[in-house]
């Protein structure tokens, strides 16, 4: 009887460890986001340089770059392949005359069909092409009024942290097979704090 009770205790303990172990993973992020060591307490303590690195972890992710191509074809999927059906940018970044983005994409994800959607679904203008650029080149382009639509730094921060199409990256829905799309490697709140910390520190761009 005693032996049986000991075995019961041991198995309960093992089960408890297993359950506790699983419950301490970071929710939807399977591994810890790549925060700089110093930033793990709070992103508000980031230096502008650390904030830049964190922000660029997001801006160079496929959820952003797929719609910032350097040519006239949107990319899609985790492998950033050219959009199926020969879909093209068109004159106003919303597709061609009778094959517009809104032919298929609406203002919300359609998780039944696996078609992503968000308000103003479209490609970034050609001048805002990021595909193939380094982090430094992206930052320079992003702060250049000739490329960024004449935005001030404040307006650029607003776009990066509040535009629904940008923030869609953290609610990307599922693909045509029902598989959840990959999210950027930094949680949304940490990313927003990093963008603001970078801007507050004078938006420095490191040397190449």
């Amino acid at each position: 009887m005693k032996k049986t009770y000991r075995a019961y205790l041991a198995s309960s303990l093992l089960l408890g460890i297993l359950v506790f172990g699983f419950s301490t993973t970071t929710g939807e992020y399977l591994s810890e986001p790549k925060l700089p060591e110093k930033s793990k307490s709070t992103a508000a303590e980031l230096t502008p340089e650390q904030a830049f690195d964190l922000m660029m972890e997001v801006l160079t992710h496929k959820r952003c770059v797929n719609c910032h191509p350097s040519d006239d074809y949107p990319r899609q999927g985790e492998d950033s392949h050219i959009h199926n059906f020969g879909v093209q940018r068109g004159p106003d970044n919303h597709g061609v005359a009778a094959l517009q983005c809104q032919t298929c994409h609406q203002s919300e994800n359609n998780n039944h069909a696996g078609v992503p959607g968000a308000p103003e679904w479209s490609l970034a203008p050609r001048k805002m092409a990021w595909q193939g650029l380094t982090r430094v080149e992206i930052a320079r382009s992003m702060l250049n009024p000739d490329n960024n639509g004449g935005r001030t730094l404040e307006e650029t921060v607003h776009h990066l942290t509040e535009h629904e199409l940008v923030l869609w990256a953290w609610e990307p829905g599922v693909d045509a097979n029902g598989t959840p799309r990959e999210k950027p490697p930094v949680p949304k709140a940490e990313y927003i704090k990093a963008v603001k910390a970078w801007a507050a520190g004078g938006a420095p761009i490191p040397e190449e």
């Binding site: 199926n84 020969g86 061609v96 005359a97 009778a98 094959l99 809104q102 032919t103 039944h112 069909a113």
Partner: protein
């Protein structure tokens, strides 16, 4: 929720789940069977219809977005007994084989001709990306050019 829209010129009001695909509403609630289900993923184009004159994949278009809009299906493409140029051309060129995908192609083509009245082959390639398993693409290309001619002729014959 209650959704109201015009379909083929008729005002319609329905109590429906707003996330239901418009295709379900059109086929199963309004009994307009011309618009077809193909892939259910906005890929093949069999479900194409017009919302405010623009081509839309209705399998992936939640009906809530149709509130207050004008929807046209293949059943409403003609003007009474006067066939749409696309319908005339499709008959003249004997385009369909099995025919399943053709309503979607015809609606996509009608949307194209309203934007580009005389499309080039390149315009057709860029804008009409529907899928036909019978591979009637060659006849469709001829029919699209023919429809453009008919549309142009009709415009000339209209009293000013």
């Amino acid at each position: 929720m209650t959704i109201s829209f015009n379909i083929n010129g008729q005002p319609t009001s329905l109590d429906v789940d707003g996330d239901m695909p418009l295709l379900w509403v059109v086929r199963d609630m309004l009994d307009l069977k011309g618009t077809k289900f193909g892939c259910g993923k906005a890929a093949c184009g069999a479900c194409t219809l017009h919302v405010d004159g623009k081509a839309i994949r209705s399998c992936s278009y939640a009906v809530k977005y149709a509130e207050g809009k004008n929807i046209t299906t293949i059943e409403g493409l003609s003007n009474g007994d006067q066939l749409h140029p696309v319908q005339q051309a499709w008959m003249e060129e004997i385009v369909p084989q099995c025919g399943y995908c053709q309503p979607g192609f015809m609606m996509a083509t009608a949307a194209l001709l309203s934007e580009i009245p005389n499309p080039t082959d390149e315009d057709i390639d860029n804008n009409i990306v529907n899928v036909c398993r019978c591979a009637t693409y060659y006849r469709m290309r001829k029919a699209i050019h023919r429809a453009a001619d008919i549309q142009s002729q009709n415009a000339k014959n209209q009293p000013s």
